[in-house]
């Protein structure tokens, strides 16, 4: 019953018990059932409680998105699943480290543009920069696009992290 035209992009937060293999379970669920992962981030968020938070960005029809959430929720070590795209207005951020090498005009132009994007220079040599840039994923896409003709050599992105606006916990 999938209708190719109504594909949606959702950011889902999953609070899990930080036990061995929990990430493999989540990833295995996506690969085993043929769901998409656009990005996935994970880190422990509460040491005392042993909980980690996984943020996964996925695409699918509304029916598939509902399935993904239900499938995540039935994994035994999962505490909670929240669809940040539907349930709340959320803020999303991603960080990227971007290496640009070159000299002369291109080097100057890269530096000028990085300023417009509020990227920070965190490493410099005579013929390279490493920029740190933070923002919504499309801002990072845009920055990378601009750096490409200016000597882009390496990109490392964290993937999206997201959190709901307002005072409540997830």
């Amino acid at each position: 019953m999938s209708n190719e035209s109504n594909i949606e992009r959702h950011t889902i937060a999953v609070l899990v018990d930080n036990e061995a293999g929990v990430l493999a379970r989540v990833i295995g669920l996506f690969s085993g059932r043929g769901y998409n992962i656009e990005s996935l981030t994970v880190a422990e968020v509460d040491q005392a409680e042993h909980t980690s938070r996984i943020t996964v960005v996925t695409v699918g029809t509304p029916m598939v998105i509902e399935q993904i959430k239900a499938q995540l929720a039935r994994l035994v070590p999962v505490h909670k699943v929240v669809d940040l795209t539907v349930d709340t207005k959320a803020v999303e951020r991603e960080m990227a480290l971007i290496k640009v090498s070159g000299s002369g005009d291109k080097r100057v132009e890269a530096l000028r543009l990085s300023d417009a994007f509020r990227a920070r220079v965190i490493d410099t040599t005579h013929n390279s920069f490493v920029f740190e840039v933070t923002g919504a994923p499309d801002k990072i896409d845009a920055f990378i696009g601009l750096m490409r003709p200016l000597g882009l050599v390496d990109v490392s992105r964290t993937g999206v992290v997201a959190i709901a606006r307002g005072p409540e916990a997830m």
Binding site: M1, D17, A20, G21, A24, R25, G28, G32, M63, E66, Q67, A70, Q71, A73, R74, V76, P77, V78, H79
Partner: protein
């Protein structure tokens, strides 16, 4: 005073006893020797030694499905664990609660490609409900108790506990099950009352209703079957069930339409197709049942009750989805139904029944009788007539014989029918029958088999002999992988590529080689006496029932077709499979 410390192996045994386990199915090896040693030194748990680890898992499934208790398996690392994988997948697909203990190499050797090491938790992650690698004896008690909790609560399923050998020797404190609370897993059993009320209101408007029930009723327990009977009586509606739900509602009842789906009855499938309100309780819209999705009950509103939220809206959109245990929800539904004093549209219902009776008159399970050769359907009919008044449990292998058993053996009670539905595992029936027999020593346990399937776990006859489990293996011997041949006939121009059962053993002599009794029937005239002889034989029997080689299983909805596009046995020419249908299994 410090609590007494036990070795990991002793903790395993004590936890099993505290969980009420009386029987385990297993096979020893280096990585589980300490547990086997602990087993040797106690007498509360009976160990049934199988002949292949796949057999251990299916036997545990048989034990579980026939008792409602979890089945327990014990196997060694490496090949022991990998041999268990088919059984675990089978149990996952059919929602059977199992706890499977696997040995593992010592923790300091993990990752070194040690002797008989394999990544058991990695291999079994997608084929279990959950699994654990236990890194120290300190964690062992908690994991043991959690494993039983997870396997049996919510949607049941198999779990694996992988226990390294050094952990089995290591000492730690034991804690009882009452002191272990799972941190995260809290399945919902009570359905949302507002949704149940809405469901009752929708049911009340129905003119062409149908109950479509499944394995979830069996999973919920005998009480759910009882409530189902009560509710179906209250409404007067027709009821059909999946392969996995047979027995939840008595087949002798007037409201029973027989099984639905690919090999279901004409009346059940047509009623599904034409219904206006469908009440699905504990069934998962499997593709054997729905046929073509976009033509599935096109004019109906659907209520779906399931304990697993992911079953709802997975395949078919539910107008009202209720997450909860079938028994709990039925209880609420009956209460609300009574308190609302619902008045159904009696005259519409009478018309609906008239239509259904019309479909019934098509007599879709009929077949051409013969005086010379045994028709497979006839063999099942006779088996049914001669065993129905006993405490009988039926298991099956996979193929045509399985479908004929579902069609022609009729069940009055839940937990009496055990078959591999979701995975369709040839080799399931014999070990499952042994598991049933171990749990019900005085019952008559029959594996309805095919000559091809039975060879997949035939070694378990030896287990049946050793443990005096007098199972009866009733082989419908058509000398073909009949189900495969039927599909080749339908889809591949009758080119029977490798589906002839070549070089078959002499099943009578084979039985004798194991020390069992072999019986062969070749004509309809001798069938009854031979079946009686089988029943009266005190030990295991292999019954070689030589049947018509070319009989096909009808009715049938070909892949990719709708419920009202069935092929009937007396009109097989009508078989039409679309190109898209050929792509489906």
């Amino acid at each position: 005073m410090a609590a007494q410390e036990l070795t990991g192996a002793e903790i395993v045994i004590k936890a099993l006893v505290d969980q009420g386990v009386d029987t385990i199915f297993g096979y020893p090896g280096g990585a589980v020797l300490p547990i086997y040693d602990a087993l040797f030194q106690q007498n509360k748990i009976r160990h049934v030694l199988v002949r292949h680890e796949q057999g251990a898992v299916h036997a545990a499934e048989g034990y579980a499905r026939s008792t409602g208790k979890p089945g327990v398996v014990l196997v060694t690392s490496g090949p022991g664990a990998t041999n268990a994988v088919t059984g675990l997948t089978d149990a996952l697909m059919d929602s059977i609660p199992l706890v499977c203990l696997t040995g593992q190499v010592a923790t300091h050797l993990i990752g070194n490609d040690a002797f008989q090491e394999c990544d058991t938790v990695g291999i079994t992650r997608p084929c279990t409900k959950h699994n654990w690698l236990v890194n120290s004896a300190k964690e062992l008690t908690r994991v043991m108790h959690e494993a039983f909790y997870v396997a049996t609560n919510g949607r049941p399923g198999p779990v694996v506990i992988d226990i390294p050998k050094n952990v089995q020797f290591e000492k730690a404190e034991y804690v009882g099950p009452q002191n272990v609370v799972h941190k995260t897993y809290r399945p919902k059993v009570k359905g949302d009352v507002e949704a149940i009320k809405a469901a009752v209101d929708l049911i009340a408007t129905a003119k062409k209703p149908i109950f479509y029930t499944g394995g979830g009723i069996i999973n919920s327990g005998p009480f759910a079957s009882q409530l189902l009977r009560e509710f179906v009586k209250l409404t007067g509606f027709p009821i059909t069930s999946t392969l996995m739900g047979l027995g939840a509602f008595p087949a002798s009842d007037k409201q029973w339409l027989g099984m639905l789906g690919m090999h279901g009855t004409y009346e059940a499938n047509n009623a599904m197709h034409d219904c206006d309100v469908m009440i699905n309780i504990g069934a998962r819209f499997d593709d054997r049942v729905t046929g073509r999705i976009d033509a599935f009950a096109p004019n109906s509103k659907k209520i779906h009750i399931d304990i697993d939220a992911s079953s709802i809206n997975k395949i078919i959109h539910a107008d009202i989805g209720i997450v909860g245990d079938a028994g709990h929800v039925l209880e609420d539904m009956i209460r609300i139904w009574k308190s609302k004093a619902v008045k159904i549209d009696k005259s519409a219902l009478a018309d609906w029944w008239k239509q259904i009776d019309h479909w019934r008159d098509r007599r879709s399970l009929d077949y051409k009788k013969s005086d010379e050769i045994i028709k497979p359907q006839y063999a099942i009919e006779r088996l049914y007539q001669l065993t129905k008044d006993r405490e009988t449990y039926i298991t099956t292998e996979v193929g045509q014989h399985q479908m004929w058993a579902a069609q022609h053996y009729h069940f009055e009670k839940p937990n009496r029918w055990l078959t591999s539905g979701g995975l369709g595992t040839m080799g399931y029936g014999l070990p499952a029958a042994i598991g049933v027999q171990i749990a019900h020593p005085d019952a008559l346990v029959i594996d309805i088999a095919g000559e091809a399937s039975i060879q997949m776990c035939i070694q378990e006859i030896s287990t049946a002999m050793q443990f005096m489990a007098p199972v009866k293996i009733f082989i419908l011997n058509n000398e073909y992988m009949g189900m495969v041949r039927q599909w080749q006939e339908l889809l591949h121009g009758g080119r029977y590529s490798h589906s002839y059962s070549e070089s078959l053993p002499d099943f009578v002599k084979l039985a004798e080689a194991f020390g069992a009794v072999g019986i062969r029937a070749k004509t309809p005239g001798e069938l009854d006496d031979k079946i009686k002889q089988m029943i009266d034989t005190p030990g295991p029997v292999v019954f070689d029932c030589v049947v018509d080689k070319f009989e096909n299983c009808y009715p049938m909805i070909p892949s990719g077709a709708a419920h009202n596009e069935m092929i009937l046995g007396d009109d097989p020419e009508a078989a039409m499979v679309t190109e898209e249908g050929k792509m489906l299994v």
